[in-house]
């Protein structure tokens, strides 16, 4: 531009500042609004909500929560327990397997090294949703569908590639002298792996765990095809059932959603810095 040196007038500067701030504040509010709206509405009864959807509750009542928590037909606690168990075990195995394979790929030269590497790479490229129908067929045939451990198998398998590559990249950045010194001192491969490499890898393993906790807790489509029993449903699945039952009772649906979301929401706001950092690192490196 010809007039590159020209400075903006103070008035223009202030206007731009106000507009920028306003846009970003509105955006941030929309991000947090659903949470507030659900909280507000969950304290209303159906009639009050239908009359005015956005007003503050006139007489806050927790009766919605009491209903969904105490009626065992809704399986709220059951589904949260199922989700917690599936998430915990899946994340554990993703981190554990990812650590072992990632380390072996980075450090051990053996004939199958490249084969394993390309198998993992393929796993990153495969559009997982094309497996939705066939995975049902396979699990149905082998009788593995609709068990308490069913979902752990695909979750671990789908989480493994990214976890392997994150660990592989990290291990390559650790000086190999560390392992050599341990080997000279007579430490076995396994002992070095778990007592020396594992603690060094804590940061990357935490990153992996963070990413996977969210994706396992929120996963829906594979749970949808693989699980049938109501008492084995994970949270997203239970929510679709629940909202079908109460199609017209929004406050009840909202209280159930808020309740089942709460672990993840609390986790997020308690550790938002670390979580954001971990997710971004995972996305960019993966």
């Amino acid at each position: 531009m010809e007039y590159g040196i020209k400075r903006q007038s103070p008035a223009a500067r202030i206007t731009i500042g106000v507009v920028f701030n306003a846009i970003l504040i509105i955006f941030s509010l929309t991000c947090i609004f659903p949470l507030l709206w659900m909280l507000m509405s969950s304290l209303k009864l159906k009639r009050e909500f239908n009359a005015s959807i956005l007003s503050l509750p006139a007489a806050p009542s927790i009766s919605n929560y009491i209903t969904i928590m105490t009626n065992p037909d809704y399986h709220i606690w059951q589904s949260m327990f199922n989700s917690a168990r599936t998430t915990f075990l899946s994340v554990f195995f993703i981190v554990f397997f990812g650590f072992i394979i990632g380390h072996i790929l980075a450090r051990v030269k053996f004939r199958g090294n490249r084969i394993v590497y390309y198998a993992m790479l393929l796993g990153m490229l495969i559009p997982i949703h094309s497996l939705l129908v066939p995975i049902y067929v396979v699990f149905n045939r082998t009788g593995l569908n609709d068990k308490w451990f069913t979902l752990i198998i695909p979750y671990v398998a789908f989480g493994m590639p990214i976890s392997v590559f994150l660990v592989e990249g990290f291990v390559k950045s650790i000086p190999i002298a560390l392992e050599e010194a341990a080997a000279i001192d007579g430490s076995s491969f396994s002992r070095t792996l778990f007592t020396i490499i594992l603690p060094t890898c804590t940061p990357i393993l935490t990153t992996i765990a963070i990413i996977q906790v969210f994706s396992c807790w929120n996963e829906f489509s594979f749970a949808l095809v693989l699980m049938k029993s109501v008492n084995l449903q994970t949270v997203p699945l239970a929510m679709t059932q629940f909202s079908g039952q109460f199609a017209s009772d929004y406050p009840k649906i909202m209280s159930a959603m808020l309740l089942t979301m709460s672990p993840i929401v609390i986790l997020y706001f308690a550790f938002s810095k670390q979580i954001i950092k971990g997710m971004v690192a995972g996305a960019v490196k993966g």
């Binding site: 072992i100 394979i101 495969i126 392992e179 997203p236 954001i276």
Partner: protein
């Protein structure tokens, strides 16, 4: 490497056996199963008859499947513009000196991406609801546009439904891409900006000629994530419209699901799965080569 650290083959085998078995069982076995069953007419029961490539011939002529594929492409386009584009603009705003509350914008903006897509779908169904939805409330109570009691059923409009569905998808991940781009921008050497400022470059010029080229690789990663993410769109749409009205918001994976589980046409469903596999892989490979070539050219 020292010979001493090299473990015995037996040890490696023992370590790799279980993880790789799980991996192969959940990834490769279904892939080949889909390929196998796609050559059969199979309704999920014990009877299945070999019918050669009939399924693939019908897939090629299946209007709904190709429409669904078109919808996936629509979502990709909408999200590249609506997520990465808007996120980039937001980053420029956040990095301008006048903006306050940067930490809050990061924390709040990122939040929706951590919520289950199913929940996002429900929330937006409520937003669009014809009787108690926020959109209609806004139209009647704030804008005072009288609808004569005939409220607008947003998600029932075939011509609008794709747009309405892509809004929650976009909104959910703007903050996510925003944070990724912020971290890329903050790793740019600040002396570059200072030098440009001294030379009299405007904020816009700095964004265009410094920020954009410096974060090109990150934008590339974002686009790849965006493309892969939208090829597997399923959860939101399952909750919000389940592909309807008609098939006007159908996407590929949802169509495969419906054919296999509501029509119980597992043979054809397997063929659709293979179709999704091939098309998604194709799109990813094409976009990768196109994007890398594009950036290489602009470097010259």
């Amino acid at each position: 490497m020292l010979q001493t650290i090299r473990p015995k083959g037996r040890v490696i085998f023992a370590y790799l056996l279980i993880p790789l078995a799980v991996y192969a069982f959940a990834v490769f076995v279904p892939l080949f199963t889909a390929l196998y069953y796609s050559f059969f007419n199979w309704k999920g029961g014990p009877v299945k008859t070999f019918n050669g490539i009939t399924n693939y011939v019908s897939l090629l002529h299946d209007r709904v499947f190709w429409e669904s594929f078109g919808h996936n492409i629509y979502l990709i386009a909408a999200c590249i513009i609506g997520q990465i584009g808007i996120a980039f603009l937001f980053v420029l705003m956040i990095n301008s000196k006048t903006v306050k509350l940067k930490g809050i914008h990061r924390t709040f903006g990122f939040f929706p991406s951590t919520i289950a897509a199913v929940s996002i779908g429900f929330i937006w169904t409520m937003v669009y609801d014809y009787k108690r939805g926020i959109v209609n409330w806004f139209i009647s109570s704030v804008l005072h546009i009288s609808t004569n009691g005939a409220q607008f059923v947003w998600l029932n409009r075939p011509e609008l439904v794709m747009l309405l569905i892509s809004i929650p998808l976009m909104w959910q991940y703007i903050g996510y891409y925003m944070v990724i781009i912020i971290s890329a921008v903050s790793s740019i050497d600040p002396s570059l900006f200072e030098a440009a400022e001294i030379d009299g470059a405007s904020e816009w010029q700095r964004a265009r000629h410094i920020t954009l080229p410096m974060i090109k690789n990150t934008l590339l990663v974002c686009m790849t994530l965006c493309i892969a993410g939208n090829m597997k769109a399923f959860d939101h749409i399952y909750v919000m419209t389940s592909g309807g009205p008609g098939n006007s918001s159908m996407v590929m994976s949802l169509y495969g699901y419906k054919v296999s589980f509501t029509q119980m046409n597992m043979g054809y469903g397997s063929a659709i799965s293979v179709g999704i596999f091939v098309l998604s892989l194709l799109i990813i490979v094409i976009s990768q080569t196109a994007l890398t070539r594009l950036t290489r050219e602009s470097e010259v």
